[in-house]
Structures are given as structure tokens and as C-alpha cells.
């Protein structure tokens, strides 16, 4: 008679059976649902709050850069909304990564599941909000900017995928290092602010001096935002070399970030 039970062996050198996220997809899904429902329940304005803070920021930026500093671009607001929500999503995802493991410390110590699920769940909840925002942006741009839906939006799924891979690739190491060093929680806002100015969120990449641009574009977010601008604001097909570079660098960041996560995640379950 066959013994069909699932056999699990835990030993110091058993390579981590918990790395496989697929069997935990339903858990992942319910974590995303939970994050969103906890955020929006008993809140009369709900999603409007999520929109409000970026909208206020957008209004400030539009006021400053189309009337005071005057960035030379037609319909500055259209340019700004093409990239701003991408940045907003990245920034919030990275911030969430600094506490997601601590937040679930008790869960991690009572149930065996891959820690990846927690990071992916947090990223997934942000991604869904981003998709809603992006939908609104598309509608607004189609009506007031292009007068039609440009074909270039067909490239959006690819850009969103790159953004997700890149963001999660940074969330992984931030999550584990935050458990080991609480300092990360203080340092991250500084880094994020720095990145905001070093990425083309409120200005165009064309304004960066040409001889500095290769260095400037080393920042994968610079490339990613430029691609979003091309697709959403210009309504043009993304430049293939830039796309290739962003795909490559996002993959690299993800691989390196994930290897850091794997290295420390077991320790983090015990420490968080």
C-alpha cells in the first residue's frame, strides 16, 4: 500500500522547501485582499484618500513647474501624471518593505510559509492601487491630451511588469535588512527623496546634460520613467535600446535583491 503522504525533511542542509511560492498563491491572494480591505473599510472616502495625497502633490508640482520655474514642455500636467503615479507606487512599496516582515512576525513564527509571500503580497496590494490610478490617468490623457487612446498603450503591460520586477527586487533586500538594522527605516526616506530628484519625475530626461545622461540612466528608475513618458505622454513606441537596458537592469536588481533575501530570510523569521 502506497504511502501517499507529503514527506518533508527539515535539516540544516535541506535547501529551503519554502522557496516555492506557487502552492501559496491562495495565501498571497488573501494577503492582498486583506491589505486592501483593511485599508478601505470604514473609510467613507476610501480610494479617494489614496488619490488625494498624490493629487495634492501633483497640484503643487504643476503650479511650481508650469508657472514659476517653467519646465519647457507643452501641457506640463500631462507629462507629470504620466510618470508621477509610477513613482508614487515605487516609493510606497519601498516604504512598506521596511516593516512588512516585522508586521507579520507573529504569523511567521506560527505557520510555515515562504516569506516571499509577504513581500509579494505587499507589492501586489500597491500594484492594484497603481493599476486603478493608471486607469484614471489613461482616461484623462485620452480625453484631454491625445483626444484618442494612442496605440502605444499596448506597451503598458510590459512596463508595468518591469516596474513590478524592479520594485520587488528592491523590496526583498530592504525587508530583510530592516529586520537586521532598524536604521533602514530612517535611512529609506532620505534615499527615496534623493531618488525622486535623480529620476525624471517632474522634469524630462532631455533636460539632463547630454554628457551626463549615460550615468544618469544607470538609475533603472530613470529609464523606466522615461519609457512611461514616451508611452503615455508622447503616445509613441518605447525606444528599444532603453527598453532592453531597463529590462536587463530590473532583472539584475531582482536577482541580486532576491539572493540577499534568501540568504537572510530564515534569520529574519527568528529575529523579526
Amino acid at each position: 500500500m502506497g504511502d501517499s503522504r507529503v514527506v518533508r525533511v527539515h535539516s540544516p542542509d535541506s535547501r529551503d522547501r519554502l522557496r516555492d511560492v506557487w502552492p501559496f498563491r491562495d495565501m498571497l491572494r488573501s494577503l492582498v485582499v486583506r491589505d486592501l480591505s483593511v485599508k478601505y473599510q470604514r473609510s467613507a472616502l476610501g480610494f479617494l484618500w489614496t488619490l488625494l495625497s498624490p493629487l495634492i502633490m501633483l497640484m503643487v508640482l504643476i503650479a511650481v513647474f508650469s508657472h514659476i520655474v517653467r519646465i519647457p514642455i507643452e501641457r506640463y500636467w500631462a507629462f507629470l501624471v504620466s510618470g508621477y503615479f509610477v513613482w508614487n507606487c515605487v516609493q510606497q512599496s519601498l516604504t512598506t518593505a521596511t516593516y512588512v516582515l516585522q508586521q507579520h512576525a507573529s504569523l511567521s513564527r506560527s505557520v510555515a510559509f515562504p516569506g516571499e509571500v509577504l513581500v509579494l503580497g505587499a507589492a501586489g496590494a500597491k500594484l492594484i492601487e497603481f493599476l486603478l490610478e493608471l486607469g484614471l490617468v489613461l482616461i484623462v490623457l485620452a480625453i484631454f491630451h491625445h483626444g484618442t487612446v494612442p496605440l502605444s498603450v499596448l506597451a503598458l503591460p510590459a512596463l508595468i511588469a518591469i516596474q513590478f520586477v524592479l520594485t520587488v527586487g528592491l523590496m526583498y533586500p530592504i525587508a530583510v535588512v530592516s529586520v537586521l538594522f532598524r536604521d533602514v527605516q530612517h535611512a529609506l526616506p532620505l534615499v527615496v527623496t534623493l531618488l525622486f530628484y535623480l529620476s525624471p519625475v517632474f522634469y524630462m530626461v532631455e533636460l539632463v546634460p547630454e554628457h551626463l545622461r549615460p550615468i544618469y540612466l544607470l538609475n533603472p528608475f530613470a529609464g523606466l520613467l522615461t519609457l512611461f513618458h514616451t508611452v503615455l505622454y508622447d503616445g509613441a513606441a518605447p525606444s528599444l535600446p532603453l527598453l532592453a537596458w531597463v529590462v536587463g537592469s530590473a532583472a539584475l536588481v531582482h536577482v541580486v535583491g532576491y539572493s540577499i533575501f534568501k540568504r537572510y530570510k530564515a534569520t529574519c523569521v527568528e529575529l523579526a
Binding site: 500500500m1 502506497g2 504511502d3 501517499s4 503522504r5 507529503v6 514527506v7 518533508r8 525533511v9 527539515h10 535539516s11 540544516p12 535541506s14 522547501r17 519554502l18 502552492p23 501559496f24 491562495d26 495565501m27 491572494r29 488573501s30 494577503l31 485582499v33 486583506r34 480591505s37 483593511v38 473599510q41 507573529s106 504569523l107 511567521s108 513564527r109 506560527s110 505557520v111 510555515a112 510559509f113 537586521l180 538594522f181 532598524r182 536604521d183 530564515a266 534569520t267 523569521v269 527568528e270 529575529l271
Partner: protein, 286 residues
């Protein structure tokens, strides 16, 4: 469900020479400053950390067996459950489990305070590894078993600890585990719920599933178990017949108190439980 829950099967849980060390030097929040001092200047940071380890842990649990683990606070009982559940990885040794494992270790750990009972059942069920279809099928059973009434639609932050335990335990039972690990969860349930749990655990064992139970309630330890383990400072101090182990454990309190501050190990001599032979069937030899 599982077709092979009876017959001569391999043990459900098998642990050999398991050791677990915790690096408590890192158990405090570390700042970069400390890290710099320690790693760059290679100077020790003032902080003498306590040592905690599990050593030489062997266990063999056959399908249909119930094991209770008893021992003082901080002796390593929960750590053992976490090792068996695969939450912690052992520093040495091997643990093999055969079948689906569900652990209810910290009360309310899989539940979110802001979500209602119903929403939490959906969340915790998938956390325990049920698929959405399984959860849909067993949803009514869970709600019935938990007997929380209309409170099932109220956020669980308003629940009493007994209600939390009912909810968590019901979901864990519904996940139909082959190996169920329970840590002190039953203790907060009322008499009626404990009776229902006892029945359910009985059924569970009859079908050839396995239970490992940590409890400070020594009656529970006697009642459910086919073997008992007494853990003391990370070691198995005694194992065997539940009544014998519980009696020895209770007796040790009196002996240890008389022995004073040196603690249980110093009690030695006649009453020493080491002298009681750990009953043979459960012991792994080599």
C-alpha cells in the same frame, strides 16, 4: 480524503539528533553603530547574551498517536513545535514529517484584528494551506464548530481570547491535517469548547492522524496523549507514559523547590526522573 491513513505506515513525525541554537547576540535591535563597532573595529559590543538551545532531540510519532509536551516556561516546547512545523530550521539533525502539517502556535497570529471573523477564516484558511475551493466547502463547518454566533461578522479585535482560540482552532481542524501541532490554544477555551475539541481530536486520532500538543494544563496532557515528553532547558528530561511523566514532572516541583536555586538538574538522587526508563517503543535507538 487521504486514502492511506491506516495500515502499516512510516512514522508521521521522526526527529533524529535535532539541535537548534539561537544566535541571541542578534536578538536585540541592532543599530548600524553597533554593527560598525563589531564588524569594522572588531570590538565586542557590551551585551552578554543568554544562550538558548535545543539539544539531542529525538522523537518518533506513529500515525494515530498523540504526544503531549510539558515543561516549564522557556524550556523549548514551542521551539520544538516550530522545528517540527518547519518554521525554524534545525542547526543539526533531521526532522521528517509525513502528511499535511497544521500548527496553531501563537493565539491569533494568523488573524487580522481589523477583519471580521468571516474574513479571517478566509485569510487564515489559505495561510494554513487550504485552497480556496477547500475553504469554500468547509466554510460552514468552520463557522458551526467555532460557535461564535453573530460575532462572526464583527472584527476580531473585539473578540475575547477564548473566541480567538475557537476561531483559530476551528480553521486548523478544518484544514484536515495529518499532523496537528497545538500550543496552549485549548487552554483559553471554555469547558463546552474543550469538550468539542476533545471529541474532534479523538476522531482525528482514530482516522490515523497525529497530534502533538503543548500544554501547561496537565490534565489535558494526561488525557489526550499516548506518550508524553518532558522538556527541561532544551532537553528531553523524560519520556514515556503520560501519567508517569506528568507525575514525575509534578513531583519535581517539590524536589526542585527544596533543592533551592540550583534548579531541577541539581535535584538528582532518588527522585530523579532520569532513573525512570523512557518507555521503549517510542525511543529511537541509533
Amino acid at each position: 480524503m487521504s486514502s492511506s491513513r491506516n495500515g502499516a505506515l512510516l512514522p508521521a513525525v521522526e526527529a533524529r539528533g535535532v539541535e537548534k541554537r539561537f544566535d541571541l547576540s542578534r536578538s536585540r535591535p541592532t543599530s548600524l553603530r553597533e554593527w560598525f563597532i563589531r564588524t569594522m573595529l572588531r570590538r565586542p559590543v557590551e551585551w552578554r547574551h543568554p544562550e538558548f538551545r535545543i539539544t539531542g532531540f529525538d522523537l518518533r510519532v506513529e500515525p494515530g498517536e498523540a504526544v503531549s509536551i510539558i515543561g516549564g516556561n522557556g524550556s523549548g516546547k514551542s521551539t520544538l513545535l516550530r522545528l517540527i512545523a518547519g518554521i525554524y530550521k534545525p542547526t543539526a539533525g533531521t526532522i521528517t514529517t509525513r502528511g499535511r502539517v497544521a500548527a496553531v502556535i501563537e493565539l491569533g497570529s494568523g488573524l487580522h484584528p481589523e477583519l471580521t471573523g468571516v474574513e479571517n477564516v478566509r485569510l487564515y484558511g489559505t495561510v494554513l494551506g487550504m485552497t480556496r475551493e477547500e475553504l469554500r466547502e468547509r466554510f460552514d463547518w468552520i463557522i458551526d464548530f467555532a460557535e461564535i454566533g453573530d460575532f462572526i461578522h464583527v472584527p476580531v479585535k473585539y473578540y475575547s481570547s477564548g473566541m480567538l482560540a475557537r476561531l483559530a482552532f476551528s480553521v486548523a481542524m478544518a484544514s484536515d491535517p495529518d499532523i496537528l501541532l497545538i500550543d496552549e490554544v485549548l487552554a483559553v477555551g471554555d469547558e463546552a469548547f474543550r469538550e468539542r475539541c476533545a471529541d474532534r481530536l479523538g476522531e482525528h486520532l482514530t482516522r490515523g492522524s497525529t497530534v502533538i500538543l503543548v500544554s501547561h494544563d496537565l490534565d489535558v496532557a494526561r488525557r489526550y496523549a499516548t506518550q508524553a515528553l518532558w522538556i527541561d532547558r532544551g532537553r528531553v528530561r523524560m519520556r514515556g507514559d503520560p501519567n508517569a511523566v506528568v507525575d514525575a514532572y509534578i513531583a519535581s516541583h517539590y524536589v526542585d523547590h527544596e533543592a533551592g536555586a540550583d534548579g531541577p538538574e541539581a535535584s538528582g538522587s532518588a527522585g530523579s526522573p532520569e532513573a525512570v526508563p523512557a518507555s521503549s517503543p517510542q525511543v529511537i535507538n541509533g
